[in-house]
């Protein structure tokens, strides 16, 4: 079973939102097509998004996927 509390995929969405005119979680959620709570869970590294959502987020910020998400092996 996946341990949701300690996911190895980290991200810098919070930082990217800040540099994108302080985009809110709600605005990002609407652009991606998920709920604000899902964006919040991704930001806190408590939920790992699917590749589709990860690519969408990276595309919105004009970054490559590995610049937004980093896998940190335990």
């Amino acid at each position: 079973m996946i341990n949701l509390a300690t996911l190895p995929i980290k991200n810098k969405i919070r930082e990217l939102r800040f540099f994108a005119d302080e985009m809110t979680q709600q605005e990002l959620a609407e652009l991606v097509g998920v709920t604000r709570q899902t964006i919040m869970a991704i930001e806190k590294c408590k939920y790992s998004p699917t590749l589709e959502v990860a690519f969408k987020i990276a595309e919105i910020f004009g970054q490559s996927i590995d610049e937004v998400f980093q896998y940190q092996s335990v």
Binding site: T35, T38, Y47
Partner: protein, 156 residues
């Protein structure tokens, strides 16, 4: 507490199921003390009342929730909601299968030795097999909702 539309909807389903069917099963247990004819009529009345009540309560509360969160209601379930739904379904299905197997075991036992029921007069409730199956179903629903809420809370 920061809850999504889907999580609020599951809370409504869980609480209404627990209250309505909790009351229903408590009343069903009390039927064991009544005469057979009265118990049968009462059991049917209780079942109809519980099913009508759950439908009305769900419609009212889910509609109010959707009206207050129409944007989220239109969005539907996102990938995280679907993942938690899938995990919840797995737990609920397991409980349901166990309930069905126990019911089958009971039915086979009674076919092999009908005197078995005489030793358990306290369980002399009308439509007992149907009630055990219904209990399994309701329990599986409660487990399904609870598992989903557990994942939402853990992931919040």
């Amino acid at each position: 507490m920061n809850m999504s539309f889907r999580e609020k909807s599951i809370w409504i389903s869980l609480i209404s199921t627990l209250l309505i069917f909790g009351d229903y099963f408590l009343n069903v247990i009390a039927l064991a003390n009544l005469s057979e004819a009265v118990a049968k009529t009462t059991a049917l009345e209780l079942s109809i009342r519980a099913f009508v009540l759950i439908i009305i309560v769900e419609i009212i509360f889910q509609t109010v929730l959707a009206l207050n969160n129409h944007k989220a209601a239109n969005l539907g379930a996102d990938e995280r909601d679907k993942l938690f739904e899938y995990k919840g379904n797995n737990f609920g299905y397991t409980v349901l299968v166990i309930g069905v197997l126990l019911t089958l075991g009971r039915m086979v036992s009674l076919e092999i030795s009908p005197e078995f029921i005489e030793q358990f007069k306290v369980l002399n409730i009308p439509f007992l097999t149907a009630h055990i199956l219904l209990f399994s179903f309701i329990l599986s629903e409660v487990v399904r909702f609870s598992a989903q809420l557990y994942y939402y809370r853990r992931c919040d």
